[in-house]
Symmetry: C2
Subunit: 354 residues, 2 copies
C-alpha cells in the first residue's frame, strides 16, 4: 500500500526522441492532479537524467549503472519511449532500455488494457515481461557466418506468477474467462510448458473459465466482430503479448494512445507503448507530438498508487479530449497546436469536471 509510505517517489524518465517532450507534459498533468500531495511532501516527482541513447551507447549498457541506482530509489516510474538500437546504428549493440528495465526491476507483468466501448471491446492483456525471446534476446549465437540461433526461455515460476496475476485480476473483477495464447502445436517445449502451467494455475480458480488459442488464429479472432467481444482477459508469453497488444491497441486508436503498466513485486513502471520517433525531433516537430500514450500511462500510475479519484478524472478528460482537441495536436504542424497545448486542454477539462 503506497499511501502508507511517508513519501511516494515517482521517478520520471524522459527517454529519447519525442520522449522528453511528451513525458514532460504527462508529468505536468500529474503534478497538477497531485498538487496538494506534492506540497504536503506526500508525493515527490524526481526526474532521472542520463537514460538517453547517447549515454547508453557511451557506457555500452542498456541502463547506465547510476541511472539504475536512481531508479531503484523510486517507488514507481513514469517512462517515455526510448530508442532501441539496431544493427547499423552508430552505437553498440546494447539491449532495448525498456526491455532491460523490465528485467532489472523484475517487472514481470505487463498489463495492457484495451477498451473500445462502441465496439463492445473490453480486453485486459497480461503479457509475461521477463522471459521468452526477450530473456536472451541479445545473446543469440552465430554458429557460423550463415547459421544463427536464438533462444526462447520459459520457466514454471515465471509462468505461474503471470498466470496468477491474470486469474487474480479476472476473479477480482468478475470476469468469466481467461484466454491463454501460445503456439504449443509447434513450439512444443516452451509454449507447451506455458500452457501446462496456466492449466494448473486455473484449477485454483474454479469460478473463472480458461480457454486456449494459438497466436496465429488469435490475431484473426480479434478482428472477427462476432467473436472478439467474447474475450476478456488474456495471458501470453512475452513475444505473443508484444504482438497481440499492438494489434489490439489499433482498435482504440493505435499504439500512440495506449499506455502500459509494468508491474513487479517491488517496483512498477508505466510507459507509452510506441517508439521514440526520432524523425520528428530531427524535423523539429517533437513539440507537436501526441502525448496521450504517456498521459494514459500516467493515469494507470495514479490508479496503481491508490489515487483512484485522480486517475478517474484523468481517464475521463482523456476521453473527452480525444474527441476534440486531439485532432488539433495530431495536425499540429498546420495548426500550431503543440503537446503543451493539448496538456493544457486536458487540465482545463479536469478543472471543468470539478
Amino acid at each position: 500500500d503506497y499511501k502508507s509510505l511517508d513519501t511516494i517517489v515517482i521517478g520520471v524518465v524522459g527517454g529519447d526522441g519525442i520522449g522528453p517532450a511528451i513525458t514532460g507534459q504527462a508529468q505536468r498533468i500529474l503534478e497538477f492532479l497531485l498538487n496538494d500531495e506534492v506540497n504536503k511532501g506526500k508525493v515527490e516527482f524526481r526526474v532521472i537524467e542520463g537514460c538517453t541513447i547517447e549515454k547508453r551507447a557511451e557506457v555500452g549498457k542498456a541502463i547506465p549503472d547510476d541511472v539504475l541506482e536512481e531508479l531503484k530509489k523510486c517507488h514507481v516510474i513514469l517512462k517515455g519511449p526510448t530508442t532501441t538500437p539496431r544493427k547499423g546504428d552508430p552505437w553498440p549493440n546494447v539491449e532495448s532500455a525498456n526491455v532491460a528495465m523490465r528485467k532489472e526491476l523484475d517487472l514481470f507483468a505487463n498489463v495492457r488494457p484495451v477498451k473500445v466501448p462502441e465496439l463492445g471491446i473490453d480486453w485486459t492483456f497480461f503479457r509475461e515481461n521477463t522471459e521468452d525471446s526477450y530473456a536472451l534476446g541479445s545473446q543469440g549465437v552465430n554458429v557460423s557466418e550463415d547459421l544463427a540461433i536464438d533462444f526462447k526461455v520459459i520457466t514454471s515460476q515465471g509462468t505461474q506468477r503471470i498466470a496468477e496475476a491474470a486469474f487474480d485480476y479476472a476473479k477480482k473483477n468478475g470476469k468469466k474467462k481467461v484466454t491463454v495464447v501460445t503456439k504449443a502445436n509447434v513450439v512444443k517445449t516452451t509454449d507447451g510448458k506455458f500452457l501446462d502451467v496456466c492449466k494448473e494455475v486455473s484449477k485454483n480458480y474454479p469460478e473463472v473459465e480458461m480457454d486456449d488459442w494459438y497466436i496465429d488464429i488469435m490475431t484473426a479472432k480479434l478482428i472477427d466482430e462476432k467473436r472478439r467481444t467474447q474475450f476478456e482477459v488474456f495471458v501470453l508469453p512475452n513475444l505473443y503479448g508484444d504482438i497481440l497488444t499492438d494489434e489490439a491497441a489499433e482498435f482504440q486508436g493505435g499504439v500512440g494512445t495506449a499506455g502500459s503498466a509494468n508491474i513487479g513485486k517491488q517496483y512498477s513502471m508505466f510507459e507509452a507503448i510506441h517508439g521514440s520517433a526520432p524523425r520528428m525531433v530531427d524535423e523539429g516537430r517533437d513539440i507537436y507530438a501526441d502525448p496521450s500514450s504517456v498521459i494514459r500511462a500516467g493515469a494507470m500510475l495514479l490508479n496503481h498508487i491508490g489515487y483512484i479519484e485522480e486517475a478517474d478524472k484523468l481517464y475521463k478528460a482523456l476521453e473527452i479530449c480525444s474527441q476534440t482537441e486531439k485532432k488539433l495536436v495530431m495536425t499540429g504542424r498546420d495548426t500550431g497546436a503543440t503537446s503543451a497545448a493539448y496538456a493544457n486542454y486536458i487540465m482545463e477539462t479536469i478543472d471543468k469536471l470539478g
Copy 2:
C-alpha cells in the same frame, strides 16, 4: 515446366477430421476442369492413403515412410488439413504433418495471397517455410523440470531463397515494394540476419523498393485502413508469417476461405490454411464443412502447373459462389446444404461461365 511432362501426377492427401470430405470435393472440381487431360493421360490424380493421425501415431512419425515415398512420386500435392498432436492427446508427441511435409519436401516458400478488392487489399505473403521456430520445433530442451528452452534457427541461404522469391514475384508482377517483417530489435541474432540478408538481396532489384517493420506494429498496420493498402508483397520468417497470414485472411472471410501454396525447387503442395475441425466429425457434421479453402488451394495448384485458364475459371466461380450459395453451406446444419452441394454449385457456375 509441368506441361512438358508425359503425365503430371497430382497427389491427393485427404488429411484428418473434415479433411477427406472437403478435399474430396476439391478433387471432384479439379477432375471436372481437367476432364480431357485426365482422359488423355496427361494428368493423373492419385489419392494417397495412410497420412491419418491414427497411422502417424501408430508409427510414431509425422509422415509414415511409405506415405513419404508415395508423395515423392507426385509432382504436386493437394492436401486437406491434418490434425496436429498436442500434449495430452492419445498419440505420441509427433510433429505436425504439414510442418514435416514442408521440411521433408523442402517446400521453402509458403505463398499466401489475400485479396479483398472492396477494401483495396491486394497482399501476397512470402512466408519462409522450413526454418525459424519450426526447424527444431519438437526438439526443445527441458533443462530442468522448471526450465524449458526452444530454438529459433535462421540461415543465410534459407533467407536468401525466400527473399529472392518475394523480390522476383514483385518484379515480375510490377509491384513497387517488398516489406520485410521481423522483430530484429529484440530477437537480434536470427531476425537481424533475416533482415540483413533481405537488404542484400534487395540490392539486386533496384526497381523494387524495400521497407521493414516489426511484427508487433505490422499487425496493427494491417487494420489501419489508410496504411494497409500501401503494402503489396511481404517476406517473413516462418512464425511471423504464420501469424500475419491468419490475421490477413480474416479480411477475406477467415482462414476457412484461404488457400496456401507451399513451393519448393522440386515439389509443391497446396493446402487449406485452417485446421481439421475434428469436433465437426464427432458431431457428424463433416459433410456440411465449407470446402472453399481447399478448392482455392486447388485453383492455386492449377495455376502453378500451367492450367491458367482453368484456374481463372475456378477463381471466378469461387467469387460468384461465395456471394450466394456459400451461406447455405455455412449454415448447412439447418438448410441441409452439404459440401457436395456447394461443389456442385461451383461446377454449374463454371459451366455457365462457358
